[in-house]
């Protein structure tokens, strides 16, 4: 393994342990890793925006050399308008002139709302209503040639009734007694099953993150030993040794303080 690769993978392993140390309690190792990731991300993102967005999408277009307008050598001079709106945003930093920034914000919000509202309604309300209702009366679900079609037909009925019952649970203009109590109980069960499914998936997601870190740590350990570069291995063992000493110190402190009353 190359020295640089070994260095970076080791740093990754070290930062992984720094982050996991928070599970025990907040500590300087975790804080270091946390601040590092926030700082590096912010710096990286700023450069990405500059090189991937502003240069190709604005400056290059304002300097294509076909036409001359307002000292800008460009045939696409209208790109000056969003550029000016972008500059106006920066007036937020002046108490006197911050009102200017409301114009680009208003324009952006207006465009975004105009774009989003009809599309969101269509994709996330109308289409969902359509599938929830038509799934029930779609005869092919029941008279199809496979078991899966029949299963999806039964699922459509459950989804349809479950949606109505779950909505009814939040209908407070009528007291939930008698039949209405039954419907709202069915609704809460449907909601709980939904939350359960979400929770199950979330657990799987969180475990996946941990599994990936175990794989990374395992790769690092294997590579460190197999590389045969003993001096580097020893150096990083020293780094991890500090970590271990701290952890042991904390464990001893925990058992010594056990039973004593906390400071008021």
């Amino acid at each position: 393994m190359e020295w640089s690769t070994f260095l970076w993978t080791t740093l990754g392993a070290f930062l992984t342990l720094c982050t996991f140390s928070f599970l025990y309690k907040d500590n300087p190792f975790y804080k270091f890793a946390e601040h590092l990731v926030v700082g590096v991300s912010a710096g990286y993102f700023a450069l990405v925006l500059w090189h991937q967005s502003l240069i190709p999408n604005l400056f290059t277009r304002l300097n294509d050399g076909d036409w001359y307008f307002l000292w800008v050598n460009s045939s696409q001079w209208w790109y000056l308008i969003p550029a000016a709106l972008g500059v106006m945003m920066w007036t937020r930093f002046s108490k006197k002139r911050s009102w200017i920034s409301r114009w680009p914000i208003a324009l952006y919000m207006g465009i975004a709302a105009g774009m989003a509202i009809p599309r969101e309604m269509q994709a996330r309300v109308i289409e969902q209503l359509h599938s929830a209702m038509l799934g029930v009366i779609d005869r092919s679900n029941f008279f199809g040639h496979s078991v899966f079609d029949t299963a999806s037909g039964i699922a459509s009925i459950i989804i349809f009734l479950g949606t109505l019952a779950a909505l009814f649970y939040f209908f407070f203009s009528k007291e939930h007694v008698g039949v209405f109590k039954g419907i709202s109980s069915f609704g809460i069960w449907i909601l709980m099953i939904g939350f359960g499914a979400s929770f199950g998936y979330t657990v799987m997601g969180r475990i996946s993150l941990f599994v990936q870190r175990i794989q990374v740590l395992n790769d690092w350990t294997v590579n460190a030993w197999e590389s045969g570069e003993v001096s580097y291995v020893l150096f990083w063992f020293l780094v991890f040794g500090i970590f271990l000493i701290w952890a042991m110190f904390e464990i001893v402190k925990y058992f010594m303080n056990k039973g004593s009353t906390p400071e008021q």
């Binding site: 599970l23 025990y24 991300s41 990286y44 993102f45 990405v48 925006l49 991937q52 967005s53 190709p56 999408n57 290059t60 277009r61 975004a112 774009m115 989003a116 599309r119 969101e120 269509q122 994709a123 996330r124 289409e127 969902q128 359509h130 599938s131 799934g135 899966f148 989804i159 939904g194 499914a197 979400s198 998936y201 979330t202 657990v203 799987m204 997601g205 969180r206 475990i207 996946s208 993150l209 941990f210 599994v211 990936q212 870190r213 175990i214 794989q215 395992n218």
Partner: protein
């Protein structure tokens, strides 16, 4: 303090420690667990596998390093399948740290495709994949909804150049490729609300055939879109990634992680049962008082 009181007041750090021990032991213990296939994942593989040589697909890698555990395996498996079958791929990212993800995928898969391999009984001879011919990486642009809308009109509006600064008209794969109309399908690997933007604007505005690979946390929220036909396939979390790897006959980190998932889930279920037993026992004791 009896055992039930101890169960209720158990320090959560013991739970973390138990979980860590179980995960590490299971990782070191090499065995296989069966992975059941689901229709929603099978349909992604079937659609991609049915594409012919020279077809173009758009792969949107919309996740950061914090989600690579669940989404990288899917990206790797599908990208390799495409390159092996000589399907051309347009990569893009709407996630600000996604560029590193795409760059890593391209480099690793380029190395992998150089070797001969047999997947699902089909022999693929190793070959060199060429930037601009076999794939193009458009790079990153902010504001996903607007970028998707703009790409639906013309890729050149949001992306005048590719990630490496080459104008799109000078790239062979992009000659004659104006917008989504020339792409057979879009596969979005997403961690966050970008997936819903692809549904709303990509499928909603332009009717692109869309498949999603999402993180486990998003999985349950995406199923309604599968039911309504707005997406034709869905691979959720590490399980979805493991199924993709299995279908591609290309086992990787997702299938490797499933055995750990199994025991971690069993342990969590045990903790939930223990917690509930403790809760019910102490509640009954308090009632009797």
């Amino acid at each position: 303090m009896n055992i039930f009181d101890r169960l209720i007041s158990l320090d959560r750090r013991w739970v973390f420690l138990a979980l860590a021990v179980v995960c590490v032991i299971t990782y070191l213990w090499d065995f296989k667990v069966p992975v059941n296939l689901s229709h929603e994942v099978q349909s992604i593989f079937d659609k991609v596998n049915a594409l012919e040589e020279g077809d173009i697909i758009y792969m949107s890698v919309d996740y950061d390093p914090n989600a690579l555990a669940e989404l990288h395996p899917t990206t790797y498996a599908l990208a390799e399948l495409c390159f092996r079958k000589k399907i051309r791929v347009i990569f893009g990212t709407l996630s600000n740290l996604g560029q590193g993800m795409v760059d890593q995928v391209i480099r690793d898969i380029s190395d992998s495709v150089k070797n001969d391999a047999t997947y699902n009984g089909v022999f693929y001879q190793g070959r060199e994949i060429v930037n601009g011919v076999d794939y193009v990486f458009l790079g990153y642009k902010p504001y996903p909804a607007m970028v998707i809308q703009a790409m639906g009109l013309d890729f050149r509006v949001p992306f005048p150049t590719d990630y490496y600064g080459t104008p799109l008209d000078n790239i062979p794969i992009m000659r004659g490729t104006k917008n989504f109309d020339q792409c057979k399908l879009v596969v979005d690997m997403a961690a966050g609300n970008v997936a819903e933007m692809w549904i709303t604007y990509g499928h909603g505005n332009y009717g692109v055939p869309l498949a999603l690979a999402v993180t486990g946390v998003m999985g349950a929220d995406m199923y309604p879109y599968l039911g309504s036909g707005q997406v034709f396939g869905l691979a959720a979390g590490l399980l979805g990634a493991a199924q993709i790897e299995m279908l591609c006959d290309n086992p990787g980190r997702a299938m490797d992680g499933m055995r750990i998932q199994l025991f971690a889930h069993i342990l969590i279920i045990l903790f939930i049962v223990m917690g509930n037993i403790g809760f019910l026992a102490t509640r009954n004791k308090n009632k009797m008082r």
